[in-house]
Amino acid sequence: MNFDFSDELKQLRDEARRFLTDRCPPAVPRRILESDEPYDRALWRSIAEMGWTGAAIPEAYGGVGLGRLAVCVIAEELGFHVAPVPFASSVYLATEAVLQYGSEAQKRAYLPKLATGELIGTFALAERAGTSDPRKLTATVNGGTLTTVKLAVPDGDVADFAVVAVNGGSGPWLYLADLHGPGVTKEVVTTIDPTRSHAKLSFTAAPADPLAAATGPESVRRLLDFAAVPMAFEQVGGAQAALEMGNAYAKERYAFGRPIGSFQGIKHKLSDMYIQVEMARSNAYYGAWAVHTEAAELPIAASVARISACEAGWFVTKENIQTHGGMGFTWQMDCHLYYRRAKQLALALGSAREWKLRLISELRNRNTEDLQAA
C-alpha cells in the first residue's frame, strides 16, 4: 500500500509552502480584496518562473512535465494561502482542455505560453442560474463565430483566451475564443470573493476555434472531472488554513478565566473540523490517484473528491468565524478570506448538489464491485 505522494512531490509541496508563506501571507489576498487590482501580477510571474504553470505540460510543449500530481500538491498550497492568481482557471481548466482536446497546432500555439504564464486562459460555461449540465447549454457556434453570454467567469477580465462550452450537437462542444479579439466584451462583476476577479463575457459573432476532439457533452464533463481534483486540493488547503487559524485562536483567547479551547463546545467543534478536513483530504487523494492513472472510475473519484471538499470547505470556514466570536465577523480578521474563497471554489465547477446527482448516476452505470479502489 502506497497511498501517498512520492518524496519528490512532498518536496515540491514543501518548497511551495515555503515560497508562499514568504510571498503570499494573508496581507496579499487582502490587498487584492481592498484594491481594484484583479490579481497579484508579480506573484503570478514568480509562480510561472518556478514552473508551476507548466507543471502538467509535457516538456515537448515547453512545460516541466511533472504531471497532474504535481498540480495537486501545488494547488493545496495555493488554497492554504488564498493566493489571488488565476491559477485554477488557467491550469486546471484551460491548460487541461488544450492538453486533452487540442490539435497539434493548437497545442504548439497555446501550451508553451501557458507554461510561461504569458498567456492566461479561463473556462466559460454558466449561462444562467441553476444547473450547469452541459446538455442544457444554449450557446452555439455558426460559421466559425460564437454568440452567447457567459456569467461569472472566474478571471474572465484578465484572461487572454477562454475555453467556451457550447451546445455542439454532433460537432465539438468546446471552443477557444480570443478575449482580445472582435465581438468580445468583458464586464467585471463583483462577487462574494473579490480576491479572485470575475467577469461577464459577451460574445457577438466572435471568432471561435474548435477543440475538435471535444465531442459530446461528456467531453465537457470530463474536463470538469479533471479540474475537480486539483480544485479539491485547493479547497482542502483553504480548509486546513482555516482549521489552523481557529485552533490557534482557541488556545490564546480566554473567557471565564480559561482558554476557550478548553470548553468542549469549542474543542469538539475543532475536532469535527479536523475530521472533515482529513476525510476531504483522503478523498482528494483518491481523486489524485484517478487523474494520475486516468482511471475509468475518474468520474466517481472526482465527484467524491469534489463533494467532500465542498462540504469541508464550507463547514470549516464558517466554524472558524464562529470560533473567533465577534472578532470573526470583522473585516480586519482574516476569517472572511477563507470563508469567501471556500464558497467561491464550491460554486466554480458546479455546486456539490450537482456533483452528488452526477456521482449517483455514475455509480448506477457500473457495478460498484468493479471499481478498482473499491
Binding site: 500500500m1 502506497n2 482558554p259 474543542k267 483522503s282 490517484w289 467524491v304 467532500s308 479502489a373
Partner: protein, 416 residues
C-alpha cells in the same frame, strides 16, 4: 501513488487467503457482517476455538509481535492485511479480541517473564479467553475514578467491589483488572493492575441485558477475592499507566463499524418504490446516497493512508481516532435512513425486507459502537488534545486525594 501491495505484502496476502480458504467459509456475496452475530448459537464457542487453534498452528496469531513475546517479528501491515482477508470469511474471532488484542500486549509490555510464559501461548491458541474488568458504575470514561479496592495481605491482594459492562466475563477464563490499591493517593496514582482468574472464589457474574436483547456484557462483583501478588502487572501504583497501554491498543485499532454500508443502502434504494417511482430515481434520495458514499469513501481512504504509514513501518498517530467516530456515526445515519426508505413496513425484524433485516438488526446494536472503547465525546477530546494540542478541560479532581473527589449518587452501582 497506488493501492497496490508491495511484493512482500502480496505474498503474505496470498498465504493468508490460502489458509482461510482451507479453513473457513467465505461470506456469501452481499452478506453483511453484524455485531457479535452468531456468537450465541449452540456450539459457537467450540467452533470459534477450533478455528483459532488452526489459525495459531498456521502461524497467523500474533505473528506481528516481537519474538520475545512469542510472535514472529512480522509487521503491523501484515496484521492489517490478514484482518482484511479474514473479514471476508464467516469466522467468529471477536471472542479472542480482548485476550489477543488488549491483554497480551499489556502483559508483554509490563508483566514478568513468568506471566508471559504462563499466558501468551495458551491465549494465542484459545485455551484462555479473556475479559476486560475496567469500567465501573462510578465511571467508564473516567476510568481512574474506579472504586474497586485491592488490599495487600501478605503475598496476596484481597479484592472487593464491582465492575460493569464487562464483555464476555461470563465465558472468560481470565480478566485484566484495574483496582484501587491506595485510596489516599491522588486519583491516578493509587491504582494497580492485575490478572484475575475468573474461577476464583468470591466472584459473582451477572449478565446484563442490552438494547439488542442479548447479553454480551455483565456486572462482576468481588467479595474478598484473592489474587497472588505474582499476578500483579507492573509496579504497585502504576495501574493507570499499565491501563493506558491497554486503552491505546483498544483505540488505535483503525476499527470500522460492522453493518450495512453504502452498498446495502444503494441496493435498497434500487428496490424500494416511492411516490414517484423507485427511490433511486428520486433526486432527494440521490443526494443523500451521494453523501453516504462520500463518507464511506473518506473512511476507506483514511484507512488506506493509515495503512500506508504502517506499510512504511511508521505508527499511525492519534489521527486514527477519527475512524471509529466517523464509522459509528455513519452506520447509525445509514441505517436510520434505510429504514426511513422502507417506511411503514420498516420495523419488521427478520428476513422479510429487501435487505433481509440487517438495517433493523443494526439499529439495535449501533448505539454500542459509539460508546464501547471510548465514547464519541472522549474520542473528540483525544483528537482535540492530542492532535490539535488544545488544553485539557479544567478538572476538579487534579491533585486531590481520591477519597475527596466528588461523586454522584450512581457511583456505587446496584450492590454497593
Amino acid at each position: 501513488m497506488d493501492f497496490e501491495d508491495t511484493p512482500d505484502e502480496a505474498a503474505f496476502r496470498t498465504k493468508a487467503r490460502a489458509f482461510l480458504d482451507a479453513n473457513a467459509e467465505r461470506r456469501k456475496p452481499g452478506a453483511v457482517e453484524g455485531y457479535r452475530r452468531g456468537q450465541d448459537a449452540p456450539g459457537a464457542m467450540e467452533r470459534a476455538k477450533d478455528f483459532q487453534r488452526r489459525k495459531f498452528d498456521a502461524g497467523f496469531v500474533g505473528f506481528h509481535w516481537p519474538t520475545e513475546w512469542g510472535g514472529q517479528g512480522g509487521t503491523q501491515i501484515q496484521n492489517v492485511i490478514y484482518n482484511q482477508e479474514e473479514a471476508k470469511y464467516d469466522v467468529l474471532t471477536g471472542l479472542f479480541g480482548i485476550g489477543i488484542g488488549l491483554a497480551m500486549p499489556t502483559i508483554c509490555t509490563w508483566g514478568t517473564l513468568e506471566q508471559r510464559e504462563t499466558f501468551v501461548q495458551k491465549t494465542m491458541r484459545a485455551d484462555y479467553v479473556w475479559c476486560q474488568l475496567f469500567s465501573e458504575p462510578g465511571g467508564g470514561s473516567d476510568l481512574a475514578a474506579l472504586r474497586t479496592r485491592a488490599e495487600k495481605d501478605g503475598d496476596e491482594w484481597v479484592v472487593n467491589g464491582q465492575k460493569i459492562w464487562n464483555s464476555g466475563a461470563h465465558y472468560s477464563d481470565y480478566g485484566i483488572l484495574v483496582a484501587r490499591s491506595d485510596p489516599d493517593a491522588v486519583k491516578h496514582a493509587g491504582l494497580s493492575f492485575f490478572i484475575l482468574d475468573m474461577k476464583a472464589p468470591g466472584i459473582e457474574i451477572r449478565p446484563i441485558r442490552q438494547v439488542s436483547g442479548s447479553s454480551h456484557f455483565n456486572e462482576v462483583f468481588f467479595t474478598n477475592v484473592r489474587i497472588p501478588d505474582s499476578r500483579r502487572v507492573g509496579p504497585v501504583g502504576a495501574g493507570w499507566k499499565v491501563a493506558l497501554t491497554t486503552l491505546m491498543n483498544e483505540r488505535h485499532g483503525m476499527r470500522d463499524a460492522p453493518g450495512p454500508d453504502f452498498n446495502e443502502l444503494f441496493s435498497l434504494a434500487r428496490q424500494v418504490e416511492l411516490e414517484d417511482g423507485l427511490a433511486i430515481d428520486n433526486a432527494a434520495v440521490q443526494e443523500k446516497l451521494a453523501e453516504f458514499y462520500v463518507r464511506s469513501q473518506g473512511l476507506k481512504f483514511t484507512k488506506f493512508r493509515g495503512m500506508t504509514a504502517l506499510s512504511r513501518g511508521q505508527t499511525p498517530g492519534p489521527e486514527s481516532s477519527i475512524i471509529k467516530v466517523v464509522a459509528a456515526n455513519k452506520l447509525q445515519d445509514i441505517l436510520s435512513y434505510g429504514l426511513d426508505l422502507i417506511g411503514m413496513a420498516g420495523p419488521t425484524m427478520g428476513d422479510t425486507m429487501p435487505v433481509s433485516g440487517i438495517f433493523e438488526e443494526a439499529l439495535l446494536y449501533s448505539p454500542a459502537l459509539r460508546l464501547a472503547g471510548g465514547t464519541d465525546e472522549i474520542m473528540k477530546n483525544i483528537i482535540a488534545e492530542r492532535v490539535l494540542g488544545l488544553p485539557q478541560d479544567p478538572r476538579v479532581d487534579k491533585g486531590v486525594p481520591w477519597r475527596d473527589v466528588p461523586t454522584g449518587p450512581r457511583a456505587t452501582g446496584t450492590k454497593g
